[in-house]
Amino acid sequence: MTAVLPDLANYDVDAVRADFPILTREVFGRPLVYLDNASSSQKPRQVLDAERSFVEQHYSNVHRGVHTLSQEATDAYESARSTVAAFLGARHEEVVFTKNATEAYNLVAHSFGNAPAGSPFHLGPGDEVCVTEMEHHSNLVPWQMLCERTGATLRWLPLTDDGRLDLTDLDTLVNERTRILAFVHISNILGTANPVDVLVARAREVGAFTLLDGAQSAPHQSVDVTALGVDFFALTGHKMLAPSGIGVLWGRKELLDAMPPFMGGGSMIEVVQMSGSTYAPAPERFEAGTPMISQAVGLAAACDYLSAVGLDRIAAHERALTAQLIDGIRALGGVRVIGPDTIEMRGAAVSFAIDDVHPHDVGQSLDELGIAVRVGHHCAFPVCRRYGVAATTRASSYLYTTAAEIDVLLEGIVTVQRFWRR
């Protein structure tokens, strides 16, 4: 891929937008205003082209083949792994490709669940897993299921009224019995950015493993897993310009190599006999079956694209938009932000509630104005319950969002308020 990017001395959002074919679409005769990025992002032609030219010229299955296409495909797949590793400040062998972030959490939970007594990963009655009340279902349900299977106990850090983690009881909730502390880097529903250092420090004190859900951070800011000091980190490609169907589990190599496998099948084995098998080292151990070959190529192209634009610039751009949105909402009246209502320690997803209008009606009415926002529980049911709402409306920007689009949303909210005022 040669990402022909303009000079972005001043962040040139129009140049970025020109790379995204779908952004020229109209909805109900209006220009599409895509503010559902926390759910999934659109794809630039650089990513689509990288995947397509790979498939049209070099496609084959990967690993172990000796013919030319097989070597080329393996090279492309493995150099995609290197690109992602570099993107995360990690080593090549520490990057496991999964189909999404959800599989990554299930992988770790199942692997731990398969560990025999005596293994450092083993869990049983008396052991604890700690999460937070703001987890996405993907980083909650696998741990519930693991606890059910093993008899371990699930605990969770509660939330404050202003949408932050309540760390008052951190030392009780994360304790000597805690085997793993799994938490979200940036909440997809509240937008909250969590204090990774504080949580990692406590986990280290008690010898618990840490897993960080980076589904909402990796697309929006530069991430260095080594600097973060966690043991596991996951991201999902479709939220960061890459194709659907690919995600990443990053784990420290010595942990991955020591963990039992999750899924069994081709590529993850060493020697297979009918009576039993031995397993390959990581990352292969966790990549059973034919992998997401062209999707890995697409993900690498997405990482390249994001790096070329610059994660720091993207973060700064989104920060300005988030401030504009939060300030705008406050100015409107009759609309309440659910989650932090300042831009300190937060991401670009902003959930809100319009007085007396059901989120479904908000979302549908905004759609008729061309504005795509998400309504619902955002796979974070417990958060809705915590803040006493059945659902929220969420607007989330990304590198191609413009200040003008935020204005369209704010005007749209006014239209909705007028229309539904009874």
């Binding site: 109900f28 005769g29 059901h358 479904h360 009606d361 549908q364 008729e368 529980h377 059945a390």
Partner: protein, 151 residues
């Protein structure tokens, strides 16, 4: 909102002025249904006698679609024979599952035809069906109970 809007005037009218709303006595059966995907809920009562739906009353939380659909439903079933009302409910269900492919029959569905557009929005179909499903459940229970009592 636009012409293609989901929000036909009929729907908005029922939403703003729901028919037969509020919980009333007497009733045979009361049910509580929840739409897990959005947390909407309805509590609904039916009274059936002589094979006829005598009354349906309800109270609930929800979006305009679910509220209006429940209101329309009460118009279509109260005072009708259970069998006919069940048929109407099937017709509404079929319309909702049609993904915009079915031409609704106004003679059968009356104001319910305003929901034809909803079928193009699978995410909203459950909203439109919440009250109907609660009614069907409650009525089936009422019929079963009276059949049990009669035998």
């Amino acid at each position: 909102m636009s012409n293609e809007s989901l929000y036909q005037e009929i729907i908005l009218d029922h939403y703003r002025n729901p028919h037969h709303s509020g919980l009333r006595d007497p009733y045979d059966v009361e049910v509580h249904h929840v739409n897990p995907t959005c947390g909407d809920e309805v509590t609904l009562r039916v009274q059936v006698a002589g094979g006829v739906v005598q009354d349906v009353s309800y109270d609930g939380q929800g979006c305009s679609i679910s509220q209006a659909s429940t209101s329309v439903m009460t118009d279509l079933v109260i005072g009708r024979g259970v069998e006919q009302a069940m048929q109407t409910s099937e017709a509404f269900l079929a319309l909702m599952q049609s993904r915009g492919q079915l031409e609704p029959d106004e003679d059968v569905l009356e104001d319910g035809i305003a929901f034809a557009g909803v079928s193009r929005y699978p995410a909203r179909v459950k909203c439109a069906l919440l009250g109907w499903m609660a009614w069907k459940d409650a009525t089936a229970q009422a019929v079963a109970a009276s059949a049990g009592g009669a035998s």
